[in-house]
Subunit: 159 residues, 2 copies
DNA sequence: TTAATATAATTCACGACATGAAGCAAAATT
DNA sequence: AATTTTGCTTCATGTCGTGAATTATATTAA
């Protein structure tokens, strides 16, 4: 409790705030640009890529499950899956147990595409980490973890 | 050069890659959520908010300049400014020197809005930094700086 | 000075991303 | 058997963004 109070009172110098603002904005933009690059490289809208990437562990997904994981409404999922079906990357099958449900699974092409996208993303991450020394990585990763906690804590305050 | 070669050969363990992937994805999502929250809070589409925030140093901006800074095409700027004019946050005036140019400036309401958005963003950043101890901040900020360099270096490789 | 060219902004047609309301069909409840 | 719930789709709407064509004003060249 004392700890908490102490944190509340902490003064953040202006230069730190300015630096942080700049960093967050730059990092965010980098992520966005990579996403865009990815879309062009794989000739697939970003939403469809994000959907494809959900098929890793499970063989079958439902529209509802996809909506939850992509954090979008169900009607949006219908559109996304329509696109992927049209490109023959994914297929719909009726659930034999409950015919309200349509099970969605990757086609062969879809699997290949998914794997190559995964590979690309991993290579970008690996290259990024390779820009650092071993010691730097051992500092940076925990720092990011701390930042994540902090951001999530603030997010809770916002809602 | 030897240093460089050394870096090239660095092996990234799978657990570090997995951790990094997770972190980047989470942090990116946090930023997106804050952006969305902001839009709702200030009842303004994100693009319009980003445009408003450009008016800090300069009193007048041109469509061309806004396009450059927002990293979008000019026709998009027309739309964004249309929205802001309609909400009476911004106004267009002909450049007396060169009547091809329309100068865009904040109205009184626009200034107020801009200031309050800035204030909000700063407060989020300050709160985030406040979640950490002074020592942690002294580690996290340089780490982010390093990460930014690394990401930018990789970006160069991608293009 | 006129004619050709360059520049600034806008309009228009298009596609991606996303939401929410309304509808339909198949379970599950009552 | 009738009602409610569930899973998905359709449709209307709004945001974000691009690129080609157009209009109006400046600049340059003949």
């Amino acid at each position: 409790m004392k700890q908490n109070l102490n944190i509340e009172d902490t003064f953040i110098p202006a230069y730190q705030l300015a630096q942080f603002r700049e960093l967050v904005s730059d990092l965010f933009q980098c992520c966005q640009e990579r996403t865009q690059y990815q879309s062009e490289k794989f000739e697939l809208p970003d939403a469809e890529i994000r959907c494809l990437l959900l098929f890793g562990g499970e063989r079958y997904l439902t529209a509802k499950g996809i909506a939850y994981r992509l954090n979008v409404v169900k009607s949006r999922v219908t559109k996304i899956v329509d696109g992927l079906v049209h490109k023959d990357l994914v297929q719909r099958v009726r659930d034999p147990e409950d015919s309200r449900i349509t099970l969605i699974s990757l086609t062969h092409d879809g699997q290949e595409k998914m794997k190559s996208i995964r590979k690309f993303i991993d290579s970008v991450h690996v290259e990024t980490l390779r820009q650092m020394t071993t010691d730097q990585r051992k500092t940076v990763l925990p720092s990011l973890d701390l930042l994540r906690s902090s951001m999530k804590a603030v997010k809770e305050m916002m809602v």
